[in-house]
Each structure stands twice: as structure tokens, then as C-alpha cells.
């Protein structure tokens, strides 16, 4: 049990010792939640030690929303090309799809696969840039999830549950590790400005975890975080006086309660965020070479390139979990290629391939890749059968994701689907195994990262996940 009196004494000492913008006063933030207090943690976002020695300090999730095809990207299937136009042979078993009916014809892939890098992993010609980073990438070819519709699959990908309302992995990790940054949030989502996704806001949310672990959703434009700017007509020096008044009045009203002391501390952090955080949004500080590497200023890579570059800048400054979303709005504006797999995937790949490769390259040359786990993938893959001749339907029984950095051994291939890419047959990897792997790389124990809710000690992996040792 924590010693409240000790906290109080410490809080009083620390904040009295602080200058206006003192750093240490943060340490007395938010003592309300018993759980955190038990762990001796005073600021809910204060960086804290992992349960185990960690390979990775932060995560970037390159979320390919809508479900990119494994068959056109990382999982070549010569037999599928041979059987193209035929009904799926019965020995491959059944599958449920969202739209296509039993009796649909298989569809071969038009993509060319070639061995890449020293490892020789096969990657299709959709991703020429990513292919050059293949020796840093471990492809997981045997992913699977429970549901074949977007919303439920997205909830499962992010939170391990099929229903909204549970915390996403980003919120869990912010809860587990806090933030290394003094002026930025722990968990950031960079949504695709083209529009919404089926899972909506609840997909990224903190669920039943306290609001401090909510994602900060970056908006488009040069001022992505809400409330960082002073309102029009208010001067910085004037507002500084207002904050000073708030502090003096709150102290005059008694700061004996640690929660009061904590509240006073949050104004220091708020002021620091306001003055320091905007620097991270200024991509102009980057060299021309870096901007060109990410495809900033060139179409169709400009938007995703900017957001990948932003992700690197956030990671550099200690943000724990960053999601960079590709795809938004109507289905075909995502990787949701129902009508024409070739048209859709070529377009989506052209937007993202160069930025993704640039991110890996840039992280690596700055020495950040070792401590940053990069995850690439969607909420499911796509069906071996054709939909309406040229498209592919959703498919949750076997598809590919990849990881790089953060202690992951590049150049590997883990697991396999069957000969037509229908089902994960070798080392099937459920979303919970992906979650368990991420937690493990961050040094978090899946059974120890818990929060009491509705009579249970809830955790990210509802059913126990098995970390992918094959990646190490």
C-alpha cells in the first residue's frame, strides 16, 4: 500500500521548490488512481520502468486500413495463379466472406514476386522501396483474426475485443510505460485526412482506462494538436500572467492535498506543451534530402510521407505509440479493394511504399530503429476468390503483417498460409500473439499489465497470447 502522507510531504516539498516552469513539479501529478499510486507512480504519464528489460522503447503502427491483400504483397502463391478462374478445390476447406458467395472463382495475382535483399524474402513489385529494406523486415505470413467485417476486425486488431469499449494497445502501452516526453502526449494517432474508418474513434480509444491515456488525434494542417494555440487576440505574455495568477490563487487556496498539488503541476506541463510541442510539427527543419526521401512535396506520396516523417519526429522525442493510418473514407479510398484489386492496390501502394521505406531507412540511420518497433498491416487480408471479376473480398483466416526494428530480427519469414493463401497453416498468429509480441518487446508482461474493470482484472490479451519467438 502506498503511503499517502509521504506523497503529500513529497508533493509539498517539490512544488514549493519549483520555479514557474519547473520540471519536478510534474512528479506530483494525479494521485487519484490507487493502481498507479500503488506502483509508486505519481504522474500518470511519467516514464516508468518496464517489467522486464526491453528491446523497444516505442512503437509505430503503419495501419493499412481496409485490409491489404497478402496475395499481392508478401505471400506469393503460384498455385493460385494456376487455379485462377476455377472454384476453390474442396480440400482447402471452407471460408466465410463478407460479400462473395460459395462457388466464387479463384483469382490469380498479376503481381510479380522476386527475392529481395540478402535474406531473399519474396516481395511483390507493388513495393519496390520497401523491398530495399527487406533485410530489416520480418514478415508474418500466418496472421488471422476472428471476424471478416471491418469494424469488429478493427476493434480486435487494436484492442483484442470484437466490441468497442476496451482500451486499444496504444492506451495500454501509455498506461504501462508512460511517456518519455515532457511536452508531448504518450499516444498519438495520425489519421488519414481522406476520411473516417468503420471502427471510428472507439477503435483507438482508452476504453475504461482513465482519460489521461486517450489517444491524441492529430488534425490535418500545421497545428495538429487541439488547444495548443492561444486564442486570437491573446498575447503570450498576457497569458503567462494569467497562468501565474491561477497558480498563486490555487496555492493560496491550500495545496495540502496531493491532488491539488498535482493540478497545479499540470499547468506547468500545459504551458511547456504549448511552447515546446509546436516545434515538432515544423517539418521545415528537416533537410531537403530527408523531405525528398519521404516523398514530401511530391505526389502521390506527400501526405503519407509527411505523416511518416512526423512519426519519426514524435518517436525521437519520446512518444510511445504512434499510429499512421493509410486509408480513410469510402472503401475504395482504403485498401478495401472489392471492385478492382489492381487499381486499388497500385494506387494505395504508390502513396505509401516510398514513405514507409523512408521511415525505416531514416530510423535506422539515426540509430532509432533498434529501439522502435515498426508494425505494418491491416485488420485482415483479402480473399483468394474474386469478387465481381477483378476485386477481392475481406479475408480473416490467413494474411500478412510485418515487423521491423525494436529487437526484431530482420530478413525472416514466420508462418505460412496454405498453397492458395486461404488459411494460416503454419504457426498461425492471432492478433493476441501480435499484441503479446509487442508487449514483450517493450518489456511488459501481458499478465501484469492489468486494470480492474467490471469485476475482472482486464488486460490487452483477453486470451493469453504467445509472443513470436521466431522474430528474435
Amino acid at each position: 500500500m502506498w503511503d499517502r502522507q509521504r506523497m503529500i510531504d513529497r508533493g509539498r516539498r517539490e512544488f514549493l521548490a519549483q520555479a514557474f516552469c519547473g520540471i519536478g513539479s510534474l512528479a506530483v501529478a494525479a494521485l487519484a488512481a490507487g493502481e498507479r499510486a500503488e506502483a509508486g507512480i505519481t504522474n500518470p504519464l511519467e516514464a516508468r520502468k518496464a517489467h522486464e528489460p526491453a528491446a523497444a522503447k516505442s512503437v509505430i503502427f503503419l495501419f493499412m486500413a481496409g485490409g491489404p491483400s497478402h496475395l499481392e504483397t508478401f505471400d506469393p502463391k503460384p498455385l493460385l495463379n494456376e487455379l485462377s478462374g476455377q472454384v476453390r478445390p474442396t480440400e482447402f476447406g471452407d471460408a466465410k466472406h463478407q460479400f462473395i458467395q460459395a462457388g466464387a472463382k479463384l483469382l490469380g495475382s498479376a503481381r510479380k514476386f522476386a527475392k529481395q535483399g540478402e535474406c531473399g524474402t519474396e516481395i511483390s513489385d507493388l513495393f519496390p522501396h520497401t523491398a530495399r529494406c527487406v533485410d530489416d523486415i520480418a514478415v508474418i505470413r500466418s496472421c488471422y483474426g476472428e471476424r471478416v467485417v471491418h469494424s469488429a476486425a478493427q476493434y480486435e486488431l487494436f484492442s483484442g475485443r470484437l466490441m468497442p469499449g476496451s482500451p486499444s494497445m496504444g492506451a495500454w502501452i501509455a498506461y504501462g510505460l508512460g511517456s518519455e516526453s515532457q511536452s508531448l502526449p504518450a499516444y498519438v494517432v495520425l489519421p488519414d485526412p481522406k476520411g473516417a474508418l468503420e471502427g471510428g474513434q472507439p477503435m483507438y480509444a482508452n476504453g475504461f482506462l482513465p482519460a489521461v491515456y486517450q489517444p491524441t488525434m492529430f488534425r490535418g494542417g500545421s497545428r495538429p494538436v487541439r488547444n495548443l494555440d492561444l486564442p486570437a487576440g491573446v498575447s503570450a505574455s498576457g497569458r503567462r500572467e494569467t497562468i501565474r495568477l491561477i497558480r498563486e490563487l490555487n496555492e493560496a487556496g491550500g495545496a495540502d492535498d496531493p491532488e491539488f498539488a498535482a493540478r497545479i503541476g499540470t499547468y506547468d506541463l500545459a504551458f511547456r506543451m504549448q511552447t515546446e510541442a509546436p516545434e515538432v510539427f515544423e517539418l521545415g527543419n528537416e533537410t531537403a534530402e530527408t523531405l525528398a526521401l519521404y516523398g514530401v512535396g511530391t505526389e502521390p506520396t506527400d501526405d503519407y510521407g509527411r505523416r511518416c516523417l512526423m512519426a519519426r519526429r514524435l518517436v525521437e522525442r519520446g512518444v510511445r505509440f504512434t499510429v499512421v493510418v493509410s486509408g480513410g473514407g469510402a472503401g475504395n479510398m482504403q485498401w478495401d479493394a472489392h471492385a478492382d484489386i489492381e487499381e486499388n492496390h497500385q494506387r494505395m501502394a504508390r502513396q505509401t511504399d516510398q514513405p514507409v521505406a523512408a521511415l525505416l531507412t531514416d530510423l535506422k540511420r539515426r540509430g532509432l530503429l533498434e529501439e522502435t518497433l515498426v508494425l505494418w498491416g491491416g485488420e485482415f487480408g483479402r480473399s483468394p476468390e474474386a469478387q465481381d471479376g477483378k476485386g477481392r473480398d475481406h479475408h480473416n483466416l490467413g494474411f500478412s503483417m510485418w515487423m521491423a526494428g525494436g529487437g526484431v530480427q530482420g530478413g525472416r519469414i514466420v508462418g505460412a498460409t496454405d498453397a492458395i493463401g486461404l488459411k494460416a497453416v503454419e504457426r498461425p498468429c492471432h492478433f493476441r500473439d501480435i499484441h503479446a509480441t509487442i508487449l514483450r518487446q517493450l518489456g511488459l508482461e501481458q499478465d501484469e499489465l492489468t486494470f480492474p474493470h467490471q469485476g475482472r482484472r482486464e488486460r490487452l490479451t483477453f486470451l493469453h497470447g504467445t509472443p513470436l519467438d521466431e522474430l528474435l
Binding site: 500500500m1 503511503d3 499517502r4 502522507q5 487519484a32 500518470p44 466465410k96 466472406h97 463478407q98 471491418h150 469494424s151 466490441m163 468497442p164 469499449g165 489519421p191 473516417a196 468503420e198 471502427g199 471510428g200 474513434q201 472507439p202 476504453g207 475504461f208 482513465p210 482519460a211 489521461v212 486517450q214 491524441t216 488525434m217 488534425r219 487541439r226 488547444n227 495548443l228 494555440d229 492561444l230 486564442p231 491573446v234 497569458r239 500572467e241 494569467t242 495568477l245 491561477i246 490555487n250 495540502d256 491532488e259 491539488f260 493540478r263 499540470t266 506541463l269 500545459a270 506543451m273 504549448q274 469510402a330 475504395n332 479510398m333 471492385a339 478492382d340 494506387r347 467490471q454 475482472r456
Partner: protein
């Protein structure tokens, strides 16, 4: 009756190691039962402890205080001195109405030195409509009320706001809790409305029938997944039934039934089959959007909208496959068409039993809809066996009425205990049972078991009414104590040796800011309001056209309970202050403190806008003297005049800084944001 014996495995992490505790719980009548969990035993009628009240004659001790003082003394503690009257009126007013007292209300109360002053004040607060709005909010948290269905489409349920008004009205009129539950679980069965083809046969519903149907909307509050494409019908239906069943456990019985959907409950004596027996009460329950318009009006509406609906459907069909400008154009056209539709006809979001669409309820192996075992009929949970726990026939008439009657049967100890604990928790920040949604083996032990039973007994004896219970609590000496930081020997303040200070809840912060700045619109009831929000937030909706800002701007200043409860778009301001997400039952709000909150209050559009209004009000009511302005601001926001130091700091600030910056600072004060 059979003897149930369950091994309950509790795994607790202790100092890094796992210790498995095996605990056997037996439930039986007849044979020697192993000790039954405390919450399942009958509600006792404890006598009020004799603490020698005369010795404490300096203050007016109530029976509640006797229970509290007894435990305090046992722990070497005692009640704190009473709070001053200014503190008490702000505390009780915010607690009962969610709004701070006005300077006039405070002045009138302070001027009344009669012994009845407190009771008169409490009775006035309990009679005010604001009481219904404040305590209705608590129930809406517990039943995860939202007006949209969640998941991708997040469709708005037509007329969903009526349920919110029903709840507010029930609290306002002090509807007995047993009736309140009966109406929510089985309102449609009680209304006995004849329906054919989804239409009400009789022309016109009585007021009472309307109310009952609105109440039955309780069973539509869970999130609903509307599948596109190959529908997984059985799975989706099972999800709906799961929501209906689980909420009965969480909200009413304080049991996490959800665990028993896939396996025998690990902690509580609920075998998996009991879960499906309970679900069988809902087997015939289907959505029912009951039209309130008459046949002619319905026909007229259909005629005017048919062409538009058809065009929308065609456009929607044409979009997949399109991209870029063409797709955008069509989407814009759809939005435009949707906005051009006349407002939907008045509807009640209800349920009803549809015998033709009854879902056969089977025990499902591991909760998997494809692994059906034996079929089961409705039967109440065996762990609370009242007069009979017989299985009913699956086609029982009015099954949910039977369920509701079992819930409020005198032999069911959970229902009254759970609700009085919720009331206590909302008054004191912590329940007598600290886990209000879990009275099971895994939940917290009550700190004052006798008090809980005494309150439950009183509650039921006074006709399951809330207002007498509030009265008992807020007029006690325990409630009247001064607040302060907990003593070292009781860091969580479990024994209540002082009143627990609390931060205002999200809606209270917003409502109080509106009231203090003189902008609060106290209009009651009616369709929900959508306020302007960042366009980025709207664009994150699957159907941005759903966010239709209410045209009349004065509506934007209404109490927060009248703002739309939309699952996929929550107001950042409220979210920041821990408003729950309405995805699952919220028994107790978090009160987190973080920098984004401070940024919201410092730089957010809402607080800066209101700071201007507040400054204007101060100028109007206090003139242009700094001393008067500061004094007035403190009276409005903190319910007291400023101390000498507070006054001096404010006046010094105003020598160089504008009044609206001072007003903004006031919104950021602990004296405003906390209740002492």
C-alpha cells in the same frame, strides 16, 4: 433443489508470485451449505448501534452516523467537525442538482437561522427539476445510455432521447425503484400494445402506454452491429441478446454475468447454463420503432421522401469503384439529399416480443453460436433462489415481467443492496462496497455491512423511493463533516473521518461554467442538441452528415445531459474530464488530472468564449471596480467571498490584465472545480 458446488479459483498476484486460492462456495437449501457469499444472504435488519448518542449531543446524530461512528471508534478515529454552512450548501446543491448554488440562494440560506433551514433547503433541491437531471445522469451512466448504435454506422436511434427524459422524469417524480425496473425490463409487455406488421393497430397510444414503451428502450441501449454483406445473423442476434442479458447483471444485480457466457463463472456461483436460462427471458424481444404519427401522417411522410430515398440508394450503389472527384461529388450529393429530408416522424425506440421471431436459446459451448447444446427456457439465477426457481416454458407470456418480478422479489437481496450502494457511492465518492458493479466474490467487501443492510431495509420499506434515502444521507452528521485530506491511518478514507473532497464531473464542470457566466439555458427535455465541433472530428465519422448542428444557438448552452449521446463522437471537453464512453456500464467515474485538461480550460474555444460572457456579467453586476468584480466572481464560482489574499491577488492582476483573463483564471481554480 440440487446442491451446487463450485470451485472458485482466485488468482492474485502477490509480491510478484502467483498464489492460487481455492475457495469452495456451496449454495443449497437443505444440506449443510458452506458459507454463502455475504451479498447473497438475506438482507438483515440490523439494530442501530448504541454509541451513547447523548455524549455526542453537541451535534444532531442520525442512525447512519451511529453506524459510521461505531466503525470510526473501532479504528481510533472520529467524525471531523461540521463544515461551515457556506461549504455545506455548495456541497449539497452540487451533489443533488449538479449546479452550484447562486449567490442569492446562499444568502437566503445563511439568513435562515431556523432549525429547519437545512431540511427546507434539501427539500427544495430534491423538488427541483435539476435533481432529476443530475441523478438521472447517474443511472444513464450505469445503463451505458447512448442515442447512437456504435460500430461503423453509429446510426442514430429515432426518438432515443425520450428514454433520457423518461429517466430524468422518474427521478424527478421519485418513481419507486421496483416500478422503475419493471418498466424498463418489461414496459412493452405492460403496455400491451397490439401490433401487426410493425404497426400499432389501435389509433393512438395513451400517455401511460407511451411511457411504458419508452422505458422498454432500456433493452436497446447496447451497441448494435449492423452488418453489410453476408449477414452473420445468428452471431449478430447473439450479440444483441448478450447485451440485454449482461446489463441485467451489471446494472441491477451487481454481477458480472458476462463471464458465464463462455464457461461457468470463475468467481461467482453462476454455472454457464444459468446464463442461458437468463438469456431465454429475452428470446422473443425484438427492436420496435413505434411510430407516434397516425397512418395518414406516415403515408404523407413516405410520399414526400420516397423519391429522395431512392436517389440516395442509387448513388450509394454507384460509389464503390469510383474514386477521386467523382466519388467525392456523389458523396456530397448524398449528404445534401440526406439533409433535405424532412425531420423523421416522432418515434419511440422500444422493444416488443415477436413470437414469430423468437430465438431458440441453447447452451452454447464456449459461447460459440455454432456450438449449440441443449435448448433452455427462462429461469432465474439459482444463486438467488426466491420463491421458485422453476424453468418456464420458452413461450411463456410476458417473460420479462416475470424476470423483473424476480429481481424485485423480497427474497432477492442483491437488487436493493446494489442500488442503495450506488446512491451512497454518488454521495461519498466511494461505495460501502467499493465495486458497485460487482457484488460477487471478486468484488470488494463492504466496509459497513450493517449500514448497507439498514439502508436497504429502509429503502424498501419506504416504497423503494430515492428521495427519502437522499434526505437521510445528506442530513446526517457524516455528510456534514468538513472535508480534508485523509488521515495517515486511513489513507483511502474508508471509515469516513472527513468528507471526501471531489472534482466536479465532466458535465458539472461544463454546466457550472455556463451558469456562472450567466449563459445556462435551463430548458428541460426534448430532442438532443448537437453543438458545433471541429470539422476534423466530424470528418472522422463514417457518415459526417449525422452531425447536424442544432440551428438555434441558444440550445448550445443547455445542460450537458441534453447534448446528444453519440458513441462515435464525444465532445472533447467532456471526454477530457472523464465522461464515460457509453460502450459499457460505468459505475464510477474516473477523476484524472492531466495537462490536456489544463490546455482545454486555458486555450479551448468553449472556456474562452464563456470567459468573455463571464466578464460581461461581472461588469454588469459589479460595475467597474476591481474589488467588486473579484468579490462577485468568487461568490458566483466558489460560493463564498474571496479571502483577503485572494482578493488582493485578483485586484493586482486586474491592474494590468483584462477582466476576461481574470474570468478565465476563475474557471481554472480549485475553488471552482472541486467540491469541499
Amino acid at each position: 433443489m440440487t446442491l451446487h458446488r463450485y470451485a472458485v479459483r482466485i488468482v492474485r498476484t502477490l509480491a510478484g508470485g502467483c498464489v492460487a486460492v481455492l475457495l469452495a462456495i456451496g449454495l443449497a437449501s437443505g444440506e449443510d451449505a458452506v458459507a454463502t457469499h455475504w451479498s447473497l444472504r438475506p438482507v438483515a435488519r440490523p439494530t442501530v448501534p448504541d454509541i451513547g448518542m447523548a455524549a455526542e449531543s453537541s451535534r444532531d446524530l442520525q442512525p447512519i452516523d451511529a453506524f459510521i461512528v461505531e466503525k470510526l471508534r473501532a479504528n481510533g478515529l472520529n467524525l471531523s467537525l461540521p463544515a461551515d454552512r457556506e461549504t455545506w450548501i455548495r456541497r449539497v446543491t452540487l451533489d443533488l442538482t449538479g449546479l452550484p448554488p447562486t449567490p442569492d440562494e446562499i444568502a437566503n440560506y445563511l439568513a435562515d437561522s431556523s432549525p429547519q433551514a437545512d431540511e427546507i433547503l434539501v427539500d427544495r433541491l430534491l423538488a427541483s427539476p435539476a435533481y432529476g437531471e443530475q441523478w438521472g445522469r447517474h443511472w444513464l451512466d450505469v445503463v451505458r445510455f447512448a442515442e447512437s448504435e456504435g460500430f461503423e454506422y453509429d446510426r442514430h436511434r429515432a426518438g432515443a432521447w425520450r428514454f433520457r427524459d423518461y429517466v430524468i422524469d422518474a427521478f424527478h417524480r421519485d418513481k419507486p425503484y421496483d416500478e422503475f425496473l419493471l418498466e424498463q425490463l418489461a414496459g412493452d409487455e405492460l403496455a400491451a400494445v397490439e401490433v401487426s406488421d410493425g404497426r400499432v393497430i389501435s389509433e393512438g397510444l395513451s400517455e401511460r402506454q407511451r411511457e411504458l414503451l419508452v422505458a422498454s428502450g432500456f433493452q436497446r441501449l447496447g451497441a448494435v452491429r449492423r452488418n453489410a454483406g453476408n449477414p452473420e445473423l445468428a452471431f449478430s442476434r447473439h450479440e444483441v441478446l448478450t447485451e440485454m442479458t449482461d446489463i441485467v447483471g451489471t446494472a441491477i444485480l451487481g454481477l458480472s454475468l458476462g463471464c458465464a457466457r463462455c464457461h461457468d463463472h470463475k468467481f461467482d456461483p453462476i454455472p454457464q447454463v444459468d446464463y442461458y436460462h437468463l438469456q431465454a427471458f429475452m428470446a422473443a424481444a425484438q427492436e420496435f420503432d413505434c411510430p407516434l404519427a397516425n397512418t395518414a401522417e406516415q403515408a404523407r411522410w413516405k410520399a414526400t421522401t420516397e423519391a429522395i430515398q431512392k436517389e440516395i440508394a442509387e448513388l450509394k450503389k454507384s460509389i464503390p469503384g469510383l474514386q477521386g472527384a467523382e466519388a467525392d461529388e456523389r458523396k456530397a450529393r448524398i449528404d445534401e439529399l440526406q439533409r433535405s429530408l424532412p425531420p423523421p416522424l416522432p418515434t419511440i425506440s422500444a422493444i416488443r416480443n415477436d413470437e414469430n421471431r423468437r430465438t431458440p436459446i441453447h447452451l452454447l459451448k464456449r459461447g460459440n453460436t455454432e456450438k449449440r447444446e441443449q435448448q433452455v427456457g427462462p429461469r432465474s439465477l439459482a444463486l438467488v433462489s426466491t420463491t421458485s426457481a422453476l424453468e418456464l416454458s420458452p413461450d411463456t407470456v410476458a417473460p420479462r415481467t416475470s424476470l423483473a418480478k424476480w429481481l424485485v422479489d423480497p427474497g432477492n437481496p442483491l437488487t436493493p443492496r446494489v442500488i442503495v450502494n450506488r446512491i451512497w457511492q454518488r454521495h461519498f465518492g466511494r461505495g460501502i462496497v467499493a465495486t458497485p458493479n460487482d457484488f460477487g466474490v471478486n468484488g470488494a467487501e463492504p466496509t459497513h455491512r450493517e449500514l448497507l443492510d439498514w439502508l436497504a431495509t429502509r429503502f424498501v420499506e419506504s416504497g423503494w423511493r430515492f428521495k427519502p434515502l437522499h434526505r437521510l444521507i445528506v442530513l446526517s452528521a457524516t455528510y456534514r463533516q468538513a472535508s480534508g485530506i485523509p488521515v495517515a491511518s486511513d489513507p483511502e478514507n474508508r471509515w469516513l473521518s472527513r468528507f471526501p473532497r471531489r472534482r466536479l464531473a465532466a458535465e458539472e464542470v461544463r454546466d457550472a461554467m455556463l451558469q456562472v457566466s450567466g449563459r445556462l439555458n435551463l430548458k428541460q427535455g426534448g430532442p438532443s442538441v448537437m453543438v458545433p465541433v471541429d470539422v476534423d472530428q466530424v470528418m472522422l465519422l463514417y457518415a459526417p452528415a449525422q452531425w447536424e448542428v442544432t440551428a438555434d444557438a441558444s440550445e448550445h448552452d443547455r445542460r450537458s445531459i441534453y447534448l446528444i449521446a453519440k458513441r462515435n463522437l464525444r465532445l472533447s471537453f467532456l471526454e477530457m474530464f472523464d465522461q464515460p464512453d457509453a460502450q459499457s456500464s460505468c459505475a464510477q467515474r474516473e477523476a484524472s488530472t492531466h495537462a490536456l485538461q489544463s490546455l482545454e480550460l486555458l486555450n479551448g474555444a468553449f472556456s474562452n468564449d464563456l470567459a468573455k460572457a463571464f466578464a460581461t456579467r461581472l461588469l454588469r453586476e459589479a460595475g467597474d471596480g476591481a474589488c467588486e468584480q473579484v468579490t462577485r466572481a468568487w461568490q458566483l464560482a466558489a460560493g463564498r467571498p474571496p479571502t483577503e489574499r485572494e482578493l488582493r491577488l485578483g485586484m493586482e492582476f486586474l491592474k494590468t490584465q483584462p477582466l476576461e483573463e481574470f474570468a478565465l483564471a476563475v474557471f481554472n481554480l480549485n475553488a471552482f472545480l472541486y467540491v469541499n
